[in-house]
């Protein structure tokens, strides 16, 4: 067993493990969006940024080392995460009051966890399309945060290759692997994990909107450090 020291608390872990894996097993919450324990890490959202032995790193792609000192709740680290979260909000068009994922959305829940309750940066208002060509699933790219969970779920769980990320930098966007580029012409099936894994309201099964009353949605009941990751497919 090796030991990681997180905000002064010693936690044991079995190498090899990343910092976030070690913390997750020990019940220490590290805010994150693009990480799930059963997929290969991606390191794209950077919301799990911590300071490890004095260096700022993404906890999901940094190996935990014996005796490593990790700062998770330091004020300056939290401020950086809040800025990252604010950037995610303004890069897309996240209209929480009208979004069916509200209350079950991981981006919203992490933002609340860190006290990000109002925009602090200027909105980009990018023009982003909505693809409703699939009979069972709708993609609203206004809400996509490019976490690639759908990309990995399609490849690693479903044995398909429905999604990918195209473009670079601010032009990066989710693309659908079909001749027309439309979801309705792809191999996606409603039973695929990729159809349900989206942590925000970008990929949504039809006929499930607003079925859970306010007060019974996942993050109405408990904050994300208690409730955990967004449930797959729940709106």
């Amino acid at each position: 067993m090796s030991v990681l020291i997180v905000d002064g608390r010693e936690i044991e872990f079995e190498p090899p493990a990343t910092i976030i894996e070690a913390c997750n097993k020990a019940g220490v919450y590290l805010p994150h969006l693009c990480w799930r324990p059963d997929f290969s890490p991606h390191g794209s959202c950077r919301v799990c940024t911590v300071r490890a032995n004095g260096r700022e790193v993404a906890a999901c792609i940094t190996a935990a080392e014996d005796g490593m000192r990790v700062e998770n709740t330091a004020d300056d680290i939290v401020e950086k995460r809040k800025t990252l979260l604010s950037m995610l909000f303004v890069e897309g068009n996240h209209v929480c009051p009208a979004c069916e994922k509200s209350g079950n959305c991981q981006l919203q829940a992490v933002a609340y966890y860190h006290g990000v309750t109002a925009p602090t940066l200027t909105y980009f208002y990018p023009p982003r399309p909505l693809d409703a060509s699939h009979p069972d699933v709708v993609i609203d790219l206004n809400r996509c945060i490019l976490c690639e969970l759908c990309v990995r779920a399609s490849r690693q769980s479903d044995g398909k290759n429905v999604f990918s990320i195209g473009g670079r930098g601010i032009d990066a966007h989710l693309v659908v692997n079909s001749e027309t580029g439309r979801l309705g012409d792809s191999e996606l099936d409603i039973d695929d994990r990729a159809a349900h894994i989206c942590p925000v309201g970008a990929i949504l099964p039809r006929r499930g909107a607003f079925q859970t009353p306010i007060g019974r949605r996942k993050y109405d009941i408990d904050p994300i450090d208690v409730a955990g990751d967004a449930s797959e497919g729940e709106t």
């Binding site: 009051p97 009208a98 069916e100 909505l130 409703a132 060509s133 709708v138 039809r206 909107a209 607003f210 079925q211 859970t212 009353p213 306010i214 007060g215 019974r216």
Partner: protein, 499 residues
């Protein structure tokens, strides 16, 4: 409407006239202003109620999935979001091919709506209008407000606050939040009420009914205190439009359309709401963001109508709760068989409805269907849905067309206050002629204009939907407040950009 009032819409020589502006109109929901143009002898030559804010919901719901509509459009308003939520929900029931909801869903929605109308009516009568009615139009402006009521008549203020609170508690229990909650889904609702929730809501019912009766008595007494003034002030004679139940009863949630003429005769009756477009059209005028609807059969000039409590209590044959029905009979005796046309009678009619809501809530809370298990119905998807409801301020129309993928292609909303636009303008012209013409203007005199508008309980932010036809100016302003660029669309549709 009369030629005398019509003449005050547009003065022949506005540039030579003095301009008096009441901005903002206070103690109403939303932003509006009144402009008066006076000649050298202080005679009123033009009077207009302008709606100065711009919304655009009909446009930006286009391209969105239809199931978002009830949640999205309720953001039109913070006072009556439940009405928009339910009107849109009724429309998307139709898009889902559902015409009959399970009893639990139907009754949950009705209870929610009664709570909404009750709280909105209480807010309007006590918080917004009672200072004028109790203290008089000329009372000092620093005293003529809800805080003055709290100081001088705490019993009245407490009654208003308690009634509004109760209505909000009904909404919260059902929709999860007092403002902008969510319960209606395509074909039904997402929750029922437990027996414990119903019991908790029923606890203050006796007090609510007592307060509602006292509120009605206050409104009635204030109207009758000076019948001549109450009957004459801001009076305009119009047709009346509302929903009524199949048997002619007052109906707030569902039913067919009924319009009565000025003399009380039927213009149309029990018209299915889907056919609203055959009977109502909307006119656009270049000086307001609010449209001017009219009854098609009567034509643009003679087709003005009113909606809201005055129209509903006038139009229905009876109210199916005993206390409100007794009050309706007394109210209607004033003018029967013609409708009561007095603008100030809105307040009296509003409190009759408030009492009806309290009685109806008490009755519904005892209904075990509220705790039933079947919450939704399904049907075959269609491409069009019309949902009509009686919002606190009057008949509210939501009409949506969707494509094969379920995305909204077109939306048309005729919001209650919009239907009263013509009448409100004529009411302020009536006041301008009767009370202001040729006199030196004072705050008290100008307040009479606002008193006339307030009687309608307008929701100005709900009612501005003229996107695509109205002149519009967009200004790009930098952080120092300097205008960098301006984009103007003229009334003829031409667009000009200046940098």
């Amino acid at each position: 409407m009369t030629e005398e009032l019509d003449a005050l819409e547009t003065a022949a020589n506005p540039d030579t006239l003095k301009r008096v502006v009441i901005e903002p109109v206070t103690r109403v929901e939303g932003h509006g202003k009144v402009t008066l143009l006076l000649d050298d002898e202080d005679r009123v030559r033009q009077a207009r109620l302008h709606i100065v804010e711009f919304r655009g919901f009909e446009k930006f719901v286009q391209g969105r999935p239809y199931w978002e509509l009830p949640v999205m459009v309720q953001r039109l308003c913070g006072i009556c979001p439940v009405s928009h939520h339910l009107a849109a929900s009724k429309a998307i029931d139709r898009i889902n091919g559902v015409t009959d909801l399970p009893p639990t869903a139907d009754k949950i929605r009705r209870l929610l709506h009664f709570g909404q109308v009750l709280q909105s009516h209480a807010l309007h009568f006590f918080h917004l209008s009672s200072p004028d009615l109790v203290f008089g139009y000329d009372d000092a402006v620093s005293h003529r407000n809800i805080f003055g009521i709290l100081d001088d008549h705490p019993d009245i203020a407490r009654r208003g606050i308690m009634l509004r609170q109760f209505g909000q508690q009904v909404i919260e229990a059902i929709a999860g939040k007092r403002i902008h909650g969510n319960v209606a889904v395509p074909g039904g609702v997402n929750k029922a009420l437990t027996a414990a929730e119903r019991a908790a809501l029923g606890e203050p019912m006796k007090e609510v009914l007592e307060h509602a009766k006292e509120a009605l008595e206050l409104a009635r007494r204030l109207f009758l205190a000076d019948v001549d003034h109450s009957s004459r002030f801001a009076r305009v004679d119009t047709a009346m439009l509302s929903l009524v139940r199949n048997d002619g009863a007052l109906e707030l949630y569902d039913g067919g359309l009924r319009a009565r003429s000025i003399d009380g005769g039927a213009i149309f009756d029990h018209v299915p709401v889907e056919a609203y477009g055959e009977h109502i059209r909307e006119q656009v005028k270049p000086w307001s963001y609010m449209k001017f609807p009219y009854i098609t059969d009567l034509g643009r000039d003679a087709g003005a109508y009113r909606v809201g409590p005055l129209a509903r209590v006038n139009n229905c044959d009876f109210i199916d709760t005993p206390l409100a029905e007794a009050a309706r009979v007394e109210f209607r005796a004033f003018a029967e068989p013609a409708p009561v046309q007095s603008t100030l009678a809105f307040h009296w009619a509003r409190m009759i409805e408030l009492l009806h809501c309290a009685e109806a809530i008490e009755r519904l809370l005892a209904d075990d269907d509220l705790s039933g298990g079947e919450l939704r119905s399904d049907g075959e998807m269609t491409h069009e849905g019309v949902g009509v409801i009686e919002a606190p301020r009057g008949t509210l129309f939501h009409h949506f067309l969707v494509d094969d993928q379920g995305l909204v292609r077109r939306a048309n909303l005729i919001v209650s206050t919009t239907s009263n636009n013509r009448a409100m303008n004529d009411s302020i012209r009536r006041v301008a002629l009767d009370e202001l013409d040729g006199r030196t203007l004072t705050e008290g005199l100008l307040n009479r204009i606002e008193v006339a508008i307030r009687a309608y309980d307008p929701c100005l932010s709900c009612a501005t939907h003229a996107l695509g036809k109205m002149p519009l100016a967009l200004e790009l302003v930098d952080h120092d407040g300097d205008t960098i660029a301006t984009l103007r669309r003229d009334v003829d549709g031409g667009v000009r950009r200046s940098v």
